[in-house]
């Protein structure tokens, strides 16, 4: 039994000594920095409905030369969020002409015929091109009442592009 005790004691000593000799502890901190991107949005063209006959309506498709056109420039090949706000009415003094949003399209080159439609007329996600460009075209529809006062009607459309 004494011999066994001696073995256990020696065994525990063998285990204990190296464990107590050196200890290590560590912790990790995460560093972060956000690079801001230079971005611009330029209006290239207004949405032009042209002349309208009383009691008639007209629609401008986003692929039409009459569509509003914007150019966003930011970081290349980057996913961005586009948000388009339409006027409720076009106005001429105190007279109003009801405006209806229809659809909008985007492309990385200046060609609306090969553009991709947004899922919603109010915009959505898109990816900039190799040069950071993203072209956006916006259409709309207006309807003149039979007794619509004549005049030149206009309204403001806003576009917001968020680049992360």
């Amino acid at each position: 039994m004494k011999s066994l005790l001696k073995k256990i004691f020696l065994l525990s000593s063998v285990f204990i000594i190296p464990i107590n000799a050196q200890e290590t502890a560590s912790a990790t901190a995460t560093g972060s920095f956000s690079v801001l991107g230079y971005t611009t949005v330029t209006r290239l063209a207004d949405l032009m409905f042209g002349d309208l006959v009383l009691g008639d309506n007209t629609t401008v498709q986003p692929t039409s030369p009459k569509a509003a056109q914007f150019l966003f420039n930011g970081s290349p090949n980057t996913r961005v969020q586009i948000s388009i706000t339409y006027p409720r009415d076009l106005t001429c003094g105190s007279n109003t002409l009801r405006f209806h949003s229809t659809s909008a399209v985007f492309n990385t080159i200046s060609n609306p015929t090969t553009a991709t439609p947004f899922l919603e007329a109010t915009g959505g996600e898109a990816t900039t091109g190799n040069d950071g460009n993203l072209y956006i075209w916006v259409g709309g529809r207006v309807m003149a009442k039979k007794k619509q006062p004549v005049g030149s009607y206009n309204g403001l459309m806003k576009i917001i592009v968020v680049q992360p």
């Binding site: 066994l4 525990s12 912790a27 901190a29 995460t30 560093g31 972060s32 690079v35």
Partner: protein, 155 residues
Amino acid sequence: MRFMYIILCLFLGNSIFYCQQNLSVIKLNDIYFGSDFGGKEKRLKHTDDGTAKFQIHSKIETDIVITILIPNYFINANGLEKIPISFSDENAGWSTVDNISSRITFDPRQPLILSIKENQIIYVWIGGILHPSQSQRSGKYTGNITLTVQTLPRN
């Protein structure tokens, strides 16, 4: 047999006692360089706000060596874009008290050997120098700094 069982329990008890960690390191703060446009160097001295802060505690009096694993780059979310990061001796400091005036500057690229008393706390602050390029892609970039403390055997 019962006697052997008692001895075995004593042995395990001893082992557990001796395995207890006398040394601990806690991260108190991450490093935050803020946000800015590319092309501007971002320097974070150890006395600036936003540095990483660590707390070292020892239950026993001992000598320790502190080594810091520092990254070469901060990397963006897709892992493809990098910002080089460098360090100098203005970027790291340590102190036994938690204030700026008592901090001692050291080079985080080299191991630091210190003596720590029983139940003493040592604080370590680490900053760095980020070098975003003029054409740096926008977005968030991150990197890890790991501080490791090892006790040294005393003669």
